[in-house]
Each structure stands twice: as C-alpha cells, then as structure tokens.
C-alpha cells in the first residue's frame, strides 16, 4: 500500500477501495461517502496535497457506478501528484462536495454538475456554469447526442 493510501486509511479506516500506479500516475480509488475525509486527510497530511488541480468526470453507461469522478491533487512541497477516483452512481448520481476543503472546487463541481448531472451535496452554489441556466440535459453524458441541440437565437434572424 502506498503512503497516500496509508494516510487516507489512518484518517478514515476502510475508505480506500483499491489503488494502482499506471504510467507514473498514482490512482487511489476511495468510497464515495468518504471523499471529503480522504481529501482533508491528504491536504493536512505530511505530504501536503494542498492544491486541488482538477475535478472531472467520465461517463461509463455500462458500469454500475456510471459516473467516475477524478480528483487531481498536487503537493506544492514535493511536486507529487495523486488522483482520487470514485463512482457517483448511475441513478440519481450524487456525492458530497469538497468545497469545504478547497473553496476552489466550487466551479469545478459546477462544471461536472452542468455537464454530467452529478449533484454535489453541500455545495454553496450548485447551478449551471457553462451552459445557459435553462439548458435541457447534460451534454457530456454519452447518451446525449451531438448535433441534436436546439439552434439558439433563431428567432432573431
């Protein structure tokens, strides 16, 4: 088990589901309910993963968890990186927000909500960000067709 997994396990026993290192990138899979605890443990731990680089999502319609979230964490002290991964669930995808750990997660989570429809509980301002507020559907889902969207502003021509 890597140091990163050990740190998470120490703060929140049983949170780590698995880990693997591929192409020099360490990925730790954690339980969805423990994501905030895992993030806080790594931020405050000895390796100081203080910078949340990115939160993103990928849609796997055939998987039971469907929406796979990836949190890219960076340590400014050592330059080390780790990716936390978890599945949000196919029906009614939702997960705890990490805005309490990093305020910078605000827009990243809004983007995931806008594009995939994953709800982040405890988010202070969860609404659409890149699409208009009245947009229908979540465009980056695999079952959202390309080219099927309404033409905007057509009444102005």
């Amino acid at each position: 088990m890597s140091d990163v997994s050990a740190q998470i396990e120490m703060a929140s026993p049983g949170a780590v589901v698995g880990e693997h290192e591929l192409l020099g990138e360490l990925t730790v899979e954690v339980q969805k309910e423990r994501i905030v605890e895992a993030c806080r443990a790594l931020r405050d731990g000895p390796s100081q993963y203080v910078l949340l680089s990115d939160i993103t999502c990928a849609d796997f319609p055939d998987e039971p968890g469907r929406f796979r979230l990836a949190y890219e964490l960076t340590s400014l002290a050592t330059g080390a990186r780790v990716r936390l991964r978890t599945w949000a669930g196919a029906l009614d995808p939702e997960i705890e927000s990490v805005t309490s750990v990093w305020p910078g997660a605000n827009w990243m989570e809004r983007e995931v909500y806008d594009m995939f429809g994953v709800r982040f509980n405890g988010h202070p301002d969860l609404c659409r960000i890149l699409n208009p507020l009245d947009w229908d559907g979540h465009p980056l889902r695999r079952d959202y067709p390309i080219g099927g969207e309404e033409v905007q502003f057509s009444d102005a021509v």
Binding site: L22, L23, E25, T27, V50, L51, L52, S53, D54, T56, A58, D59, A70, E72, T74, L76, G79, R81, R83, W102, P103, G104, A105, N106, W107, M108, E111, M115, P124, D125, L126, C127, R128, I129, L130, N131, P132, L133, D134, P139, L140, R142, Y144, I146
Partner: protein
C-alpha cells in the same frame, strides 16, 4: 401587475431565469446565489424597466444617509472585461461589495466534439481553446496521448516544442501587457506590444503555416522540421527583444499612474490563492515559486538554465513585474535552444501512429496503406487514463484523457488555468474600488476561450 408565481406568463423575469426558477422548483430547491443574482439583473424591456422603477421608488427609503446597494451588470460585451466575461457587481457607492462572474458565452463544446473525432483530429480542436496559447493547448493534449501510447518523442522535437512554447509564452504575455495597458489608460504600450507580437506570429507562420491555431505539434513529435531561414530570423528577434522589453518598462515600471492603479490592489494571501486553485504568475507574485517547468520538468526543461521569477507583495503590480521578468527568462531559454538544438528526426518513427513521410507514398505500398489507415480510421490508443500538466502562460494547464482502446477518445477534459484562476475574482475585488476591478481582472489574465472551452 406582475406576480411572484414563476409558472404564470407575467412572472417578472426573462425566459432564462424563469426556466431556472422552474428547474429549481422541480428539484425542490431554492435559487442558488448565482441564479438569484443573474435573475436580479435580467434584461427588461424599457417599458418594464420604467414600471419597476416607479414601483421601487414607492418602496424606497428616502431618508438621508440611507442607501441601498447598487447592482450593475458589466458585460458580456464590456470593453474592459477582457473578452466575453460578464461580471455582476454589487456596489456600495464606489466600493465593490460582491462580484459574480458569469461565464459560458464562448462555450463551443470542444470536449464533446473531441469524443466524436479521432485522436489525431482532436489536435485541431484543442488548439482553439486558449487562443493566446495555442502551442500550450496542443502540447498538453499530445503529451497526454503520448503517455497513453508509451511513444518516445525524439530529442529535436522536444527542443522545438520547448522553443515554441517559450515563444508562445512571450507572445501571450505581450498581448496581456498590451491589453492591460489599454484597459488602464496606457494606450501606447498596446501598439508597442502588438508590434513585437506580430513578429512572433510571423515566426509561427514560418514554422506551421498558420498565425494562430497551429496544428504543428503532432502525437509523436512535430509536423515537420524548422524551415530554412527560421533560426536566423529568430536570432534577430531574440537579440532585439530585451531592448524592447526595456522600452515597455521605461513606459510603465516607474510610471506614477501605473503604480497608483496597481500597487496594493488585489492582494490575497498565498494560502487563500492555493485554496482557490490559483496557479501561474498570479500565485508566483504572492511568493510561491511553483512552476511546473521546475517542480515537474517535462520535455527536457531540466536541461535549461532559467529562474522562476517571484514577488512577495501579491498585488497587481507584483503580477506585472513577474510577467515582464518571465518574458526575459523565456528569452534565455530560447537562446539555449538555438545554441544546443540537437540534430535528428522531428517525429517518432512509429508507423502505427505517425504519418509516413510524404515522399515515401510514391514508392512504398506499406506507407500508402499506413497513410490510408491513419487518415481514415485513426490510430488506436491503449485503454487507460492520463493527465499530463504543463506550465502554460497562465498557470497549470492539463489534459485528462480517458481511452477505451479505440480510435476515438472516451473523454477529453482540459484543466484550463484561466477557468480556475477566474474564481479568485470575487475574493480579490471585495472591498476595492470599481476601477480596481478592471486592474484585477486584467492582471488575472483570463482568456475566455480557455475559460469556456
């Protein structure tokens, strides 16, 4: 008379916010702060606006000394907001109480389109995101794909990539300096900066055939070698450029108006910036020497001698100084590339990924087949995920790619520094004057093409 029920036609909100209210009702939640503030500045017809003014006047507290906060909508097409950035500002007199950035006006769905194109076609799409740093966009994309493929990029290609990335950094900082000067009233700087930037665009055109949106970096290396005469013209530019930067500094660094507008404006402690995810010159100006070229060297940056400029003040002026010094450091790196550019191929020799040389198509059947397969079907990338961050002119830019083993990406996500850095607008502006907001947004240097993607 208007009503407070959003399900009726005469609900006093334009369609977009009415839909937002309805969506919130469906999901059994209230409006979020951003939705509420957008609804508050929603556009009315002049007639509706007059009706509302009348109604508000009757409600208003007219006692002297009592004033309500003023909500102002700036943008999305405001000359000083650095592109199609919409800022909804709550003002108390001239002091900013709250700023809500509203983005998405340049959203083109590049990430979605990438999923429907082959891996090599994606190169053309991602170039168009951060339009001031096209080489950075392609670089992070190709690096991620190369990581998944496990393909080795030849030394000469790496050095050319470093060369163009640094030239791009100078070009981007020149646009930043010129437009920031323009926004703060130093108009002549704009003309000087664009003069040099045009020379840089000419150099890019020599290399790639395009002034912007180059498709020059390919998966595996660079599309072709540097053209004849390029190095000589580049050397002339490098020799001249330090004097030109001195010129900008002579105009600005000691300029009392420039200093008044910039010094002590928009300060946030480094810890707060890190918590917000801010990277790049903005973070370095607050004293954190975080530069991926030094901390996680890629493309052979460990072979070059250069400093990471930092400052401790963390204000707009410090950000200006850091960027100007970064241009000088980039010039140092470029000189080292010119002096030590290795000979050799400029693209990997892997016929399953890289197009065969053009002349080979005339006599080699295999080359023709490879060419046909690569162009029609594209190359396949082993299943997996990769994230290869680089230091773009604005901070950490990374591309997260997921492959399912096929010729098209399963997911392409760009971590654009402009998007993340822009979140710092509100904390940086609170308590400052409205005029300072212009300086703060200018020195954050968001590129809306990158923010909205």
């Amino acid at each position: 008379m208007s009503t407070t029920d959003p399900r009726t036609e005469n609900f006093p909100l334009a369609a977009e916010s009415r839909e937002a209210t309805l969506a919130a009702l469906r999901e059994e939640r209230g409006l979020t702060p951003t939705e509420r503030v957008i609804a508050s500045v929603e556009a009315y017809t002049p007639q509706e606006a007059a009706e509302r003014t009348l109604a508000n006047e009757m409600l208003a507290d007219t006692r002297p000394g009592v004033r309500a906060p003023l909500l102002i909508n700036l943008g999305p097409n405001h000359p000083s907001t650095h592109g199609v950035l919409r800022l909804i500002v709550e003002l108390d007199g001239e002091v900013v109480k709250e700023v809500t950035p509203v983005i998405g006006y340049l959203h083109t769905g590049i990430e979605k389109q990438c999923e429907n194109k082959t891996w090599w076609q994606g190169v053309t799409l991602v170039t168009r995101m951060d339009y001031l740093a096209p080489f950075a966009n392609i670089k992070t994309y190709t690096m991620s794909v190369e990581k998944l493929l496990g393909i080795e990029v030849p030394g000469r290609a790496q050095w050319i990539r470093v060369l163009l990335a640094e030239l791009n950094r100078i070009a981007s900082h020149l646009v930043w300096l010129g437009t920031s000067g323009l926004e703060l009233g130093a108009m002549s700087v704009f003309f000087y900066c664009y003069r040099e930037r045009d020379e840089l665009l000419d150099l890019f055109e020599m290399v790639s055939g395009e002034r912007m949106n180059h498709r020059y970096f390919q998966v595996g290396g660079c599309a072709q070698d540097l053209p004849p005469g390029f190095i000589e013209r580049l050397q002339a530019f490098i020799d001249e450029m330090p004097r030109r930067i001195d010129e900008y500094e002579a105009l600005l660094t000691g300029n009392p108006i420039w200093k008044d507008r910039m010094k002590g404006v928009g300060v946030l402690p480094a810890d707060d910036l890190i918590a917000l995810g801010v990277t790049g010159p903005t973070l370095r100006a607050a004293g954190v020497p975080h530069d991926l070229r030094k901390t996680n060297p890629y493309s052979g940056y460990e072979h070059f001698q250069f400093e990471v400029p930092t400052a401790t003040e963390g204000d707009c002026y410090a950000r200006y100084l850091v960027r100007v010094r970064e241009m000088r450091e980039s010039l140092r790196i470029i000189q080292q590339v010119i002096d030590g550019l290795p000979e050799g191929p400029t693209i990997a020799d892997d016929r399953k990924v890289v197009l065969p040389p053009r002349e080979e198509l005339a006599w080699s059947m295999e080359a023709l087949i490879h060419h046909f397969k690569l162009v029609s079907e594209g190359f396949k990338v082993p299943a997996g995920e990769a994230y290869a961050p680089i230091e773009s002119p604005r901070g950490e830019m990374g591309c997260y790619v997921v492959s399912d083993g096929g010729p098209k990406p399963h997911r392409v996500h760009m971590r654009d520094p402009s998007f993340v850095n822009l979140q710092a607008t509100a904390p940086l502006c609170r308590g400052n004057y409205l005029a300072d907001l212009i300086a703060i947004v200018a020195t954050l240097d968001p590129v809306m093409g990158g923010v909205d993607r």
